[in-house]
Symmetry: none
Subunit: 204 residues, 4 copies
DNA sequence: CATGAATGAGCATTCATTCAT
DNA sequence: TATGAATGAATGCTCATTCAT
């Protein structure tokens, strides 16, 4: 490793530390509680230091969002249902989506609540992501395959993925905002939802 | 009109003015930008005056939320599809829901994003509302009727309404967060969504 | 009673009501918690009304202080030791003084803590009061008599009264600021104090 | 002096400046007039800066109180009567006590008026201090010695110190609240007081 | 006599950000 | 690279007081 590379790697290490601390703070205490100072004090650096790695608060949040997004996508890409019939894979993906949202409610809220995380043009980012990123691609892929295999009737891919994602988002938010709901109740909601969507997809 | 009544009406007028200004500020600039001072300066009154009409900021926001909610419910109760077959009424209600959300995106966000508008348990409030309030009752009613009329198979009412509402919410948020999407695009998403749900409901 | 007199009496009634409410608020919640609005709301009148009876807040507090002072003096004038030997009467007065202070700690604090109750020239008022008012006069009287009766050596009256009062005040404040002290402990302090002073007076 | 030390000393300098400004403001205008902003503006810094040196207002006041207390104790420890007979030392301590109170009336008020300076139990703090702190210990020490030397009769130490302190406090407050009293008048009060107490101590 | 409406001044506190070192 | 020092802007809120009615 060259000197330059090592330095860069050191630099990246602190950068990651900041990102993790912010993600952590966000997860534990919610968006409103995230402040540059708190992040800094959490990792034992000065507030000023943050600015050496991120342009400003918005930039930091942006990267936290992106980071979580990457992890999200990774999870969606590994649903563990790789060999199942396509429709089953789709359903597996939906379950993973909801599970991830429930595990990271604050991050999820910030990431998918517009304006907060990204200053501009969230939605485009999201919808673009929906088709391009390898994570959402799972939904798209299983959908395509399900259609190809005749499990469900053919329909334009992109709008379908988008719609599924949107309804998924609705369920995720419903569950996130119902913290008092027990696991059983959550499961019932999820199953009801999946049944509804899968049935909907089966018909044309 | 008695003197007292006139005075009261004057008082109500300013109260309404404050509510409108707050709603407006919320609509234009988002929740984070709403401050007592900004509201006051918008209507040319001192910040102190706000406190003559609302106990504190939370109280003010609460009333803004409630106000919008009342209008929302009113709209949902008048979908103009009163004589149509139940399933059609259901669909009309879904369209109205989305339309209202798109017309009042920031209000919608605050109202349905938990914690912000209402201090305590949003979700419960929402789901309770979903069945009880006359607005959401439209969904329940048309769903019941659709089942009674044999348009769709029978299923437990409450979970179904909840699921529909959640997916509706997802679509609403998707569209709200896609401000750059043209009307045509929006319509395509909405139609795709409705088709998916209606088809889902038709099967059992 | 003439019309004018009746009106005046009505007027006095509300005035008294305000004074009592303020005294009460002061007693219960302390000086910092006394505000014109709170007083007004306590008696069901508007804040503005207070200003019809008192020039401003300071004026109101002034009168509360005076009011309590009058009651204080009354109590000091009725120690129930009228027939006892003079020195005994003096001691009785000292006990009553401390008792009253302990019963009205917040009032006492405000009244005898300068600046707060009276804007200017407290002390003069107090020391003048000490000799003139019939209450402190009891101390002066019993002191005079005790000297005349040969119970204690002769000494200039005024400085002696003043000194006794000052030490009395110190003990009162000590006890007021030791709310955790039990009654037994309080009694011990009081007895120790009285013994010290009486002994001091006996010698010359 | 190392770089670090110099920097620290700079920092301490501003800290001291803030403390002095606060003490000054307190001394000149009283506790109610002390506000973070006023303190800041007095030293030409922004209000925010204060928070770099003190956690909050209460913390600042606490340190002002403590600071004065330290100076107070120092003075009480150096009455300049170290070789005199114990009773004389006691009297010297009493004189110093009163003198210091008169020199720092507002500080004295805040420090010894409970609740204001310290949130929790003042009185206990004071009485504990009365025996433990080296300052008040002077009183205790001279009292003990005076008893040992047979200058005054034996009596339980703690209650005696407490009583003396309380009466001392009363005199201090009397004089503080009599700003119009001339020096001669003050001296007469002090002498009368001391004579009374000393005589009281002599008898048993 | 009593009030409702309104306000200006003030407060403690927090935050993101800059700058010189 | 990292930081300590400092700040301006903002926020929610409370209060005493005035004024027209």
């Amino acid at each position: 490793m060259s000197v330059r590379a090592r330095i860069d790697s050191e630099k990246q290490k602190l950068r990651r530390l900041i990102l993790q601390a912010t993600t952590d703070l966000l997860a534990r205490e919610g968006f409103e509680q995230v402040s540059i100072r708190k992040v800094a004090s959490r990792i034992g650096y000065s507030a000023t230091t943050i600015y050496l790695y991120f342009k400003n608060k918005a930039d930091l949040i942006d990267h936290v969002v992106d980071d979580g997004f990457a992890r999200f996508m990774l999870r969606l890409g590994n649903t563990g249902a790789g060999d199942s019939p396509p429709l089953r894979q789709l359903v597996a993906g939906m379950r993973v989506y909801i599970a991830f949202a429930l595990e990271n409610p604050n991050w999820y809220r910030v990431t998918f609540s517009s304006r907060l995380g990204r200053s501009n043009n969230d939605a485009q980012f999201l919808t673009e992501a929906a088709t391009r990123e390898k994570g959402f691609a799972v939904l798209a892929a299983s959908l395509t395959q399900a259609m190809a295999a005749g499990e469900i009737p053919k329909r334009p891919l992109y709008p379908a993925v988008q719609t599924i994602w949107a309804t998924l988002h609705g369920i995720a938010m419903l569950l996130i905002n119902s913290p008092q709901a027990g696991i059983k109740e959550q499961r019932r909601v999820i199953e009801g939802y999946i049944e509804l969507i899968v049935n909907g997809l089966r018909v044309r």
